[in-house]
């Protein structure tokens, strides 16, 4: 049995309380600011007694920042990235682990190479890519002078534009960010730990690969999926650089980006209470997801390390 150390225990609790307060301070302060009217918030220093303006400020932030639209966009983006990544990875990992084909290792290697590379380092070409998915094809088309040939056949001017811009679209917000191998890697690790007998038994019963996948593999992966949902949702929600570049239309931008417009510029009165009310709204969804799914989230995070 470990000895009793009342002094150290006391210190432990005090340290924890201090830690929690310090870590919580920025958001506490933001909450207080969000409840104050402008004249209170502009006082130096700002009073630490909450006011009663919270709902008013939230309403103001909601309309001024067009947060309704932007939160919806964030939600679509975060869910899209989460679902996209998980579905693609489940299938991919299933294929890599449970099938034998010539290029299996090559496929895994190519996917694996993308494991650590964040979108930030390939931002310029990805952006060009998204601006025009068919750019490379159009080049070929023009080089072959196909326009004139077709026009000659048709008897009048026809221009063929191969273009599909992902700028200012949900697809553009989501797709490039689903190109990551983390989930595939994790599912593969997990599938490798599943006893082989399960698969044998399924085959004995004459189950098709997909039946095995849906009936056995997916239910077994539930916890992992839950953990990844949390991690990827937070990741998706908090994306910054990519949405910053790919959206120019205010109606398509995400809440984290849109929030920047609520920060008082030197031109405006210091509406920090509105900015902070907006901040609370934007922070809330991912925080709730993390808190409510804490157990899976912690498990998932720690699993990643293995």
């Amino acid at each position: 049995m470990v000895e009793k150390t009342p002094k150290l225990d006391f210190f432990t609790y005090v340290a924890l309380i201090i830690g929690i307060v310090v870590v919580g301070f920025p958001i506490l302060y933001a909450i207080i600011a969000a409840t104050l009217p402008l004249e209170e918030v502009s006082k130096v220093p700002m009073p630490l007694i909450p006011g009663d303006q919270l709902l008013v400020n939230i309403k103001e932030a909601w309309t001024r920042g067009d947060l309704g639209t932007q939160l919806f966009n964030s939600f679509v983006m975060a869910s899209g990235i989460t679902i996209g990544k998980i579905v693609v990875s489940l299938f991919g990992a299933f294929s890599i682990v449970y099938f034998d084909y010539r290029f299996r290792t090559l496929v895994f290697a190519t996917v694996f190479c993308t494991l650590m590379l964040p979108v930030e380092v390939r931002i310029v070409p990805t952006y060009e890519m998204a601006a025009n998915l068919f750019g490379p094809l159009q080049g070929v088309w023009n080089a072959l002078g196909l326009d004139s040939i077709i026009s000659w056949f048709a008897g009048h001017d026809i221009e063929v534009n191969l273009e599909l811009s992902l700028l200012d679209s949900y697809a553009g917000l989501i797709l490039p960010l689903t190109a990551s191998a983390t989930c595939t890697f994790l599912f593969r690790q997990f599938f490798l730990t599943i006893p082989e007998e399960l698969c044998e038994a399924a085959k004995m019963d004459g189950a098709s690969p997909m039946t095995f996948f849906w009936k056995i593999l997916v239910p077994l992966s539930k916890t992992n999926i839950a953990a990844l949902v949390v991690i990827e949702f937070v990741y998706g929600w908090n994306q910054y650089l990519w949405p910053l570049l790919i959206t120019t239309n205010q109606k398509m931008t995400t809440a984290v980006i849109g929030l920047q417009h609520l920060i008082p510029s030197p031109e405006d009165p210091p509406n920090w209470h509105i900015a902070m009310a907006g901040t609370l709204l934007v922070v809330l969804p991912p925080v709730l997801v993390v808190l409510f799914m804490q157990r899976w989230f912690v498990k998932g995070l720690v699993e990643r390390e293995k």
Binding site: A15, G19, S89, S95, M116, P125, N238, L259, V298
Partner: protein, 297 residues
């Protein structure tokens, strides 16, 4: 590598299942990466109408540019500070939470939530606290410590501001890992040491800390990667790389040169340098992870 004997024979299905992953990876990863590498060897105008192949000129110019070298230094200093601050706080809080026998769940709940805050938003929150004219912490720094706090002008203050905002968000992440690591340490070990009369601190340094080292390594790598890339949001929201370029970290410079300065060649070359760096870190990590696997048996 442990290899599973495969069971299912239908090749068509196998390819079909892995196809989405391949398409997405090829379209949004390999193709842009290749394009990036190609354009890092090009000098091209912003509109992409004129490109000349110039071998390694972009790279040579990059490493001749004192500012780029400075930016590397800034990045290292920034990452180092963030790692030091967030890892030590995370470890301290985790060991405290691990000692406290009660309220563990509550403590974890109260410490875990900053993980969910976007870096850009944590930047905004800290800007509000450290705003030179009415940030409460800034006022306190000025009054209590007599500092002349001015992140607009002082490189040190601006750096401190972005380090605080980035570390704060990362503490909770590290805390989760350390707590899990601590809880995985067998109680019997600790008790045995206690019977031998080792004090709690002694036990921490001689038993807990070494056993935590794999976690420590992993957390350090993740923090460094975070501060290299994710912290873009903090910098963009708070300092835009200023004052005098003193918070212009590498990833921000890629953005600044490519999207504001319209110098695509240089920006691509910088991206490639970052890619190589990440690849290096990844290799390092996997080497280590393999060692760790043997170590944990």
């Amino acid at each position: 590598m442990l290899r599973k004997r495969s069971y299912f024979k239908s090749k068509g299905l196998a390819y079909f299942l892995v196809l989405p992953q391949i398409i997405i990876t090829a379209t949004f990863f390999y193709w842009p990466a290749i394009r990036g590498i190609v354009s890092s060897f090009m000098r091209s105008d912003p509109f992409g109408l004129k490109s000349t192949f110039i071998w390694f000129d972009n790279y040579i110019n990059l490493f001749k540019d004192p500012l780029y070298l400075k930016s590397i230094g800034i990045t290292l200093m920034f990452s180092g500070s963030v790692a030091l601050l967030s890892i030590s706080c995370g470890l301290f809080l985790a060991s405290m939470a691990n000692r406290a026998l009660r309220f563990t769940a509550l403590t974890r709940t109260l410490l875990i939530w900053p993980y969910a805050v976007a870096p850009a938003i944590s930047g905004i929150l800290w800007l509000f606290l450290l705003h030179p004219s009415y940030g409460v912490v800034a006022i306190w720094l000025n009054r209590v410590f007599g500092l002349n706090w001015n992140p607009l002008l002082s490189s040190r203050d601006a750096m401190l501001m972005v380090v605080l905002a980035s570390s704060w968000k990362n503490i909770s992440y590290n805390f989760v890992f350390f707590l899990a690591g601590l809880q995985a340490i067998p109680k019997s070990l600790i008790e045995a040491a206690a019977m031998d009369g080792a004090s709690p601190f002694r036990r921490f340094w001689s038993i807990t800390f070494p056993l935590l080292s794999p976690t420590m390594f992993f957390v350090t790598v993740m923090t460094i990667i975070f501060s290299f890339f994710e912290s873009f949001g903090v910098i963009h929201a708070v300092t835009q790389g200023g004052p005098g370029g003193s918070t212009n970290i590498l990833v921000y410079k890629v953005y600044q040169d490519g999207f504001i300065g319209l110098n695509l060649g240089s920006s691509s070359a910088q991206s490639v340098v970052l890619m190589l760096l990440i690849v290096f870190i990844t290799i390092l990590q996997f080497k280590f992870v393999e060692r760790k696997v043997q170590y944990t048996g």
